[in-house]
């Protein structure tokens, strides 16, 4: 096994927070995607001192691979505790890859109302997009080998860390 070549998640989160700070305001609603995106969104929400309560999404009911993979176990409840109509939304996810999760998240958000704008924040962008989706705020771009996968973990103390399951990576 190679040594974990991925960047430190905590320092990526710090730079992501700095990039987002000038772009948020009182009308900004943060929505984290389960599971990693919710962890990040909780931290961002506190660090940015946002007024609207934090929203969470489990996009399982909107995924485009339902007919092939079925329903995942342990589906969480989506919860948008603020009015989406006219809201300036930022979706937060851990790893941006094909863009399909983000499409599902946007579809779900529109079933809560009509947002004024939706932007996207991701801790890591690993390329490989299959849809015309781009992030507005990124911690780092990472290139990893085909077939590999990056996962965000949270330890008992609440510290975030990135882990590579297959292949090699380097920060672009």
């Amino acid at each position: 096994m190679p040594v974990n070549p991925l960047p430190d998640a905590e320092s990526l989160l710090a730079s992501l927070t700095d990039r987002m700070r000038p772009a948020v305001g009182p009308a900004t609603g943060l929505v984290g995607i389960y599971t990693g995106g919710v962890w990040l969104a909780e931290r961002l929400h506190a660090a940015l001192g946002l007024k609207l309560p934090l929203g969470t999404l489990d996009v399982s009911f909107y995924r485009d691979d339902f007919s092939r993979k079925g329903l995942r176990r342990n589906v969480k409840s989506s919860d948008i505790p603020f009015d989406i109509d006219g809201c300036d939304v930022i979706i937060v996810d851990d790893v941006l890859y094909t863009g399909r999760t983000i499409r599902a998240a946007m579809n779900e958000l529109f079933d809560y109302g009509r947002p004024e704008r939706i932007r996207l924040a991701a801790l890591v962008d690993r390329g490989g997009r299959e849809l015309p989706i781009a992030a507005d705020f990124v911690g780092a771009e990472v290139v990893i080998a085909e077939g590999g996968s990056i996962e965000l973990h949270r330890d008992a103390a609440g510290r975030l860390g990135l882990e590579l399951t297959h292949g090699n990576a380097h920060v672009a």
């Binding site: 909107y62 079925g70 589906v75 579809n107 779900e108 079933d111 109302g113």
Partner: protein
């Protein structure tokens, strides 16, 4: 009922993809049909209840719909009338974006002499994806499940005296919602156990989920002879049976099945087995009261209890839609 020589479009070969010991499950132990709660592992029951919890949120949104079953055709096959059950399945399927076709078969093809399997084969030829089956004969949904193509799913919406699994599941959901852990609960099921498919489903599910004490309360004439085999405690005296229970599950007195002189009168039943405020006071102070509906007020339940603060009868209806959404989406994905 089955006959020889049904059409070649019916799948009569062995169900290779299903578990022979439990034809509701596929070889991976995943739910393919929902026919009965008997024999379903706790993991499958919990998966349904957990998924339903996520759907409760969907039903409270502005757009009460998710696209999971978009393009799928769900057929409500009701060989026995039940407006309420049919409606909740219809709402659940529509909230999953499925196309729903309602068929009240007792008034159409059956009266023209078509067999159940011919009816099903014809509907399957119309590209059905799921059949919701209600039938007066116990086992009818099994017969249909045995003969449909492998990509069609069957849900039992009540068959004879046998089973009503989605009702049992929504009862479990309701209990879990208000009481949490099943392993500390004392649950009483009251009334016409003999004719009740709901009671059987409830007993199986409660046992599987680890409920340590299940009591059935009713007159001897309305208890099945083998009720002890289900692992429950039997009470003839309601006041004794309700002592310190956490959950009271009332059953509907099946008036239409009362022709056999099993009971002297509805008034007498009310006197001994109707849930009144003073009888409910014997249960724990925070006990909840469930009823599958439709209620016979003044027969098995007093209005003041049905509308009282311990009643969770209307939340049961709301949860029932989320539970049926969960069952349909899990089946469609397996």
């Amino acid at each position: 009922m089955p006959r020889e020589g049904w059409g070649s479009n019916l799948h009569t070969e062995t169900r290779m993809w299903l578990d022979p010991a439990n034809p509701q499950l596929n070889k991976n132990g995943e739910l393919h049909h929902l026919l009965s709660l008997e024999g379903l592992p706790a993991g499958v029951l919990r998966q349904i209840l957990d998924t339903a919890e996520s759907f409760v949120g969907v039903t409270q949104r502005e757009v009460k719909k998710v696209p999971l079953l978009r393009g799928k055709a769900v057929f409500n096959l009701f060989f026995e009338a039940s407006t309420r059950t049919r409606t909740t399945f219809e709402i659940a399927a529509k909230r999953l974006s499925a196309d729903v076709i309602n068929l009240a078969i007792n008034v159409s093809s059956q009266s023209k002499g078509e067999t159940v399997l011919d009816t099903v084969a014809n509907l399957a030829a119309m590209q059905a994806d799921m059949f919701i089956v209600r039938h007066a004969a116990s086992g009818a949904p099994y017969l249909i499940a045995k003969h449909v193509a492998p990509d069609i799913h069957v849900i039992n919406a009540g068959d004879g005296r046998h089973s009503h699994p989605t009702q049992g599941l929504l009862d479990m959901y309701t209990i879990r919602h208000y009481k949490g852990d099943f392993t500390k609960l004392r649950v009483a099921i009251v009334g016409d156990i003999l004719h009740s498919r709901v009671a059987r489903s409830q007993i199986h599910a409660l046992t599987t989920l680890g409920c340590p004490e299940i009591r059935v309360i009713g007159p001897k004439t309305l208890l099945p002879a083998d009720v002890g085999r289900l692992g429950v405690q039997v009470y003839g005296d309601m006041r004794e049976g309700l002592k310190d229970v956490d959950v009271v599950m009332m059953l509907r007195l099946q008036n239409e099945r009362m022709n056999g002189a099993l009971l002297p009168s509805a008034q007498e039943f009310y006197k001994y087995y109707g849930l009144t405020e003073d009888k409910l006071a014997l249960a724990k102070a925070d006990a909840i009261v469930l009823h599958p509906g439709p209620m016979n007020r003044g027969v098995e339940i007093d209005s003041s209890v049905a509308d009282g603060k311990q009643s969770v009868i209307l939340p049961q209806v709301t949860f029932g839609i989320a539970v049926r959404m969960a069952v349909m989406s899990i089946l469609a994905g397996n």
